[in-house]
Symmetry: C2
Subunit: 244 residues, 2 copies
């Protein structure tokens, strides 16, 4: 499995990690005096660790192995990170920052703000779920093992749920969504499908089949379709055609 | 967290493991000459291991710890199980057998066969997902570590998916379901909600809140509702009222 196969054909690929987008968890520990070169090294460490965690799981990957993969001495790695736990925390901070980026930009440039923004948000979320897929697989164990990580995750979860709900409310106001079920239940269903799709494909042994990966959006659409207005359905279909 | 809080108020609690219901994976290894007493000891070992795995995860629970919890010598445990891997395989076999039980019984005694059968199947599935919740959490890692376990799981998954699809087809024939989206996508969405609900609650820190546990059926209903005929919706509401 290779993280280069992560693309889901979104027109808005997740931007690479940039210092300005990092939340407090990362920024507080990293201080302000770090050089650009040191920052680049940390990014390099994080990317390498993420690829190894995705491939082998966090339990099987030691800091020594990460250092070896980077062609770096363990001592040099420890200059940047006290241990695996800190690397995992920074990877969560990275993922959270990248999730936030889409939703905080708003849908200002979209032709059909509400629906496009939601759809792009789902594709963006998919890419991140794939990019950091070791989190999806190991989340219960990781959160149990590190209370600070659990707090950061749960705060981000509350925040994202609120953003999803706001996006759904916006769709109602724009006359695109006419929910036939309670909106929080509908939001939870879409969340569960989006967040668990890749783990589901890994469990069923289909994670390397591109047709299965792209099916995620169809399953989400099966949940949403009956609640969309005819205008919104047409917009969704047009977008499907444009992307094909 | 206590496995006694597993009840979801279903009228059809999962029957305890019985030898006749075990699939080939278990039966082939356990042989035919085992005494009833030996069988009872194995059941006792499996129940204790399951509770420990649910509480602490499989990585943190050694066979010595399982033996200690049972007040049994490690040697006596090894007489029954060669190691933790074999215990995990038997637990999967148990879970698969219990899943199968509901669906293979059919809905013969139901007043409203199709809908009640599906609804009971979801509640039964929920109970099993909770009862064996370490599987839901650790599945990717466990299947990667044991090819035999992965094969058994994937066969059972294919089988269950086929049963769900058959149940959905039956609902269409009974005039209770009028799918507005492709049936396989709808089935996948319901599957993802049902299978991931407890892990979701653990991640969000809400696994010990009964109101959150029972909300699962509401989220599933949010997915299904627009596709049900008015008659089916009335039946579902009546059932909700009966159970309240």
């Amino acid at each position: 499995m290779n993280s280069n196969s992560a693309s889901l054909g979104s027109q808005n690929p997740a931007p690479e990690h940039s210092e300005s987008s990092l939340p407090a968890l990362h920024a507080a520990r990293s201080g302000n005096r770090r050089s650009t070169r040191s920052e680049a090294t940390r990014t390099h460490i994080l990317n390498t660790a993420r690829n190894l965690f995705n491939e082998y799981g966090t339990a099987a990957v030691s800091t020594n192995r990460i250092a070896a993969e980077l062609g770096m001495s363990p001592g040099n790695l420890y200059y940047h990170y006290a241990g695996k736990r800190d690397i995992i925390r920074d990877l969560l901070a990275e993922m959270i920052a990248q999730y936030a980026q889409h939703w905080e930009q708003g849908g200002a440039g979209d032709q059909v703000p509400g629906l496009d923004h939601l759809r792009q948000g789902m594709l963006h979320g998919s890419e991140l779920a794939w990019r950091y897929r070791f989190f999806g697989r190991e989340l219960v164990a990781l959160l149990r093992a590190d209370a600070e990580l659990a707090t950061a995750y749960r705060q981000a979860y509350q925040h994202r749920m609120a953003q999803w709900s706001a996006a759904a409310e916006q769709l109602v106001q724009l006359g695109l969504l006419q929910p036939q079920s309670p909106l929080p239940d509908l939001t939870a269903a879409v969340w569960l499908v989006t967040e668990n799709w890749f783990t589901f494909l890994e469990i069923t042994g289909e994670a390397d089949r591109p047709d299965k990966v792209s099916r995620q959006l169809e399953v989400v659409y099966a949940v949403l379709e009956p609640h969309l207005t005819p205008a919104a359905r047409q917009l969704w279909k047009d977008r499907d055609r444009d992307e094909a």
